[in-house]
């Protein structure tokens, strides 16, 4: 009888029930979308933010002191330590190698071009092959890690011995444009290159010629050497453990050490690079690395706020619909009481209706929300979002909660309702 009553009363108030279901499913859809995205967004965001720079700066151990002093000054290369270009492969061999999204070596020098003195010259990989044991066709370079490097014209080929980019400031100062031919006179040789593109980065590279690494190695006589390496990696936000490790790894208990080592903190990856390549110092570039974690944290917080807002507004919507329903059905409630129904039996009827609304709303909302998160994934991140199936029960339970939360307050009116007041309409 109860289920028949529930079914009939549900169908009788169909129009309002549909409205309530729509209200709940809108919130459920929003929550599903945010849930899907916030689970996936950490990765997606970190990938996105690769365009704003690398996470880890790798230099020979002996260079750490100088680097702090000269910054990006292009001091003579004599008497400096270098890294072997061959050891780049080792960086892609660490425990968290799959989180490394790009590597770019750098060799910086100065060269005279024409009568007006020296300009900085930077050698690097643009999109250079770096065969790995598990990926023969791996390629890497600044095009992969420095999304903010903007080239008018085209990128030089890494294997060309006569192509380079001119930084926008140098190009202006020396009157260079795409197609210009310049001779770079270095300490150990010269190379004549054609400018294939004008580079603008908003940083020091704007004042330099950027050439394939091999050319710079030739004019400096440093075959097979690089000065520093930038490594871009996907990392998780720093926390208490990673900060403790950052202060003093010795202070970690073995268990903490294992946990830290097996988590993709930027400090973990830097540490593993130091283990993999002899005599290097790998330093997180903190501004960028922690910036990513903070932004992702903020976005997830924002999503939480929006989720709570969606929850509350849907509950308020359900609540006002329930209120009207209960007012409309006051006679019926009065009659049930007159027939001897206990308050809880009437509560049960209305709360069951709310539960059904929550279930249907949750299901519809999950379906719509999953579609929506794909849409957002495709338009904002250009890739599909992995649907975490754990989200389905979470959202359905949340939807039922919304419907129940919205019904509790109006349902209190049921207890206060007196049959005498509703059964005998006073005229």
């Amino acid at each position: 009888m109860f289920f028949r009553l529930l079914r009939q009363s549900f169908l009788a108030g169909r129009r309002r029930k549909v409205l309530a279901v729509v209200t709940v499913s809108l919130a459920a859809a929003l929550i599903t979308t945010l849930f899907d995205l916030s689970v996936d967004v950490g990765d997606k965001m970190a990938r996105e933010m690769k365009s704003y720079g690398s996470n880890i700066h790798v230099v020979p151990k002996s260079e750490v002191v100088h680097a702090g002093v000269d910054g990006v000054g292009y001091n003579p290369l004599s008497g400096r330590d270098f890294l072997d270009e061959k050891s780049l492969v080792d960086i892609k061999e660490i425990f968290w190698r799959n989180n490394i999204t790009g590597i770019a070596p750098f060799l910086k020098t100065t060269a005279t071009i024409g009568p007006r003195g020296a300009v900085p010259v930077i050698g690097t990989y643009f999109n250079h092959p770096l065969p790995l044991p598990d990926d023969e066709n791996y390629r890497t370079g600044v095009t992969l890690i420095n999304g903010y490097w903007n080239v008018t014209g085209r990128w030089p080929r890494d294997d060309a011995s006569d192509e380079a980019l001119a930084g926008i400031a140098v190009a202006e100062e020396r009157g260079l444009s795409v197609g210009s031919r310049v001779t770079l006179q270095g300490t150990a040789g010269a190379a004549t290159v054609v400018i294939t593109g004008i580079l603008s980065t908003g940083t020091d590279e704007d004042g330099a010629i950027v050439a394939p690494l091999a050319i710079v190695q030739t004019i400096t006589g440093l075959a097979g050497k690089v000065q520093s390496v930038e490594v871009a990696a996907l990392t998780v936000p720093e926390n208490e453990l990673s900060r403790k490790a950052g202060r003093d790894k010795e202070a970690l208990t073995p268990m903490e050490y294992d946990l830290w080592y097996c988590t993709a903190y930027v400090s973990t990856i830097a540490h593993q690079i130091e283990e993999a390549v002899v005599n290097v110092s790998a330093r997180p570039v903190w501004q960028v690395a922690s910036g990513q974690g903070v932004v992702i944290g903020k976005i997830q917080f924002l999503m939480l706020v929006v989720t709570i807002a969606a929850f509350l507004s849907a509950a308020v919507g359900v609540s006002s619909l329930m209120n009207t329903t209960i007012t409309e059905r006051a006679k019926e409630i009065g009659l049930m009481k007159a027939l001897g129904a206990a308050d809880w039996e009437i509560f049960l009827l209305f709360l069951s209706e709310a539960t059904v609304i929550g279930l249907i709303g949750g299901l519809v909302g999950s379906a719509v929300g999953s579609g929506l998160s794909q849409l957002v994934g495709l338009t904002v991140f250009g890739s599909v979002v992995a649907i975490p199936w754990i989200g389905l029960p979470v959202v359905i339970v949340t939807a039922v909660f919304i419907a129940l939360a919205g019904s509790i307050v109006p349902c209190r009116a049921i207890a206060r309702l007196l049959p005498v007041e509703v059964l005998y309409g006073r005229h």
Binding site: M1, F2, Q8, A12, L335, A338, G340, A341, V420, L423
Partner: protein, 223 residues
């Protein structure tokens, strides 16, 4: 006589006030088991107010109401609910059938809140009021007289000792009025106590006794 021991309804010194409005004042009534009593009086004289108290839907401001030996003033809201469903059948002028339940389901709902719904018994009650053919119809598909008969079937389904009816024929034509009165008379012959509010003196004559109210006071009790 042994009127005290056999009276199901015993009202003594009862008053009901709504703020400054006195709806009932100094009411003393005793109704015996199996009696058919009419309550009559002009509009606003307190008939419905009295019936609501008799049916435990409302409580008196003053005085005592003893139903089947139980003093209703000592009961909580929940206990009055239990009394209602165990002892009382209600018939309303506006029928108060649930619009989305069929005739049969409306009767089964009363069984549901009382004990458990039994389809056969509910069907039997419907055929008693001559509506077994219409069991699957919604109230909106029934005439006023038919709805009132469903309401009576619902009132008697749980075998109440007392049936309280507030102008049950107020919305009906003469033919349906007769049908409803016949049904109430039948119930009375089975030994149930019936209290009927009516404005129709002819109906009053069909009962054992008329209680007349005027301005909230008991005027006279006939015969």
């Amino acid at each position: 006589m042994d009127a005290i021991t056999t009276s199901v309804i015993e009202v003594a010194g009862l008053a009901k006030r709504f703020g400054t409005v006195t709806a009932l004042e100094n009411i003393n009534i005793s109704i015996r088991q199996g009696e058919f009593v009419a309550i009559m009086g002009p509009s606003g004289s307190g008939k419905t107010t009295l019936l609501n108290i008799l049916s435990c839907l409302d409580t008196p401001t003053e005085g005592k109401y003893i139903l089947d030996g139980i003093d209703s003033s000592s009961l909580t809201e929940q206990q009055r609910t239990v009394i209602r469903r165990e002892k009382i059948g209600l018939v309303f002028q506006q029928f108060h059938l649930i619009p989305y339940l069929t005739a049969l389901e409306n009767i089964m709902l009363a069984q549901h809140y009382h004990s458990m719904p039994l389809k056969d018994e509910a069907m039997a009650a419907l055929s008693r009021v001559g509506l077994d053919q219409r069991w699957n119809h919604l109230p909106s598909q029934l005439s006023g007289g038919e709805q009132q008969r469903v309401c009576i079937a619902r009132a008697l389904i749980n075998e109440p000792a007392i049936v309280l009816a507030d102008e049950p024929t107020g919305n009906l034509d003469e033919r349906n009025e007769d049908l409803v009165m016949d049904l109430l008379k039948q119930l009375n012959r089975e030994g149930r106590t019936i209290v009927l509010i009516t404005h129709n003196p002819d109906l009053g004559l069909l009962t054992d006794r008329i209680i007349r109210l005027s301005h909230g006071h008991l005027e006279d009790v006939l015969p």
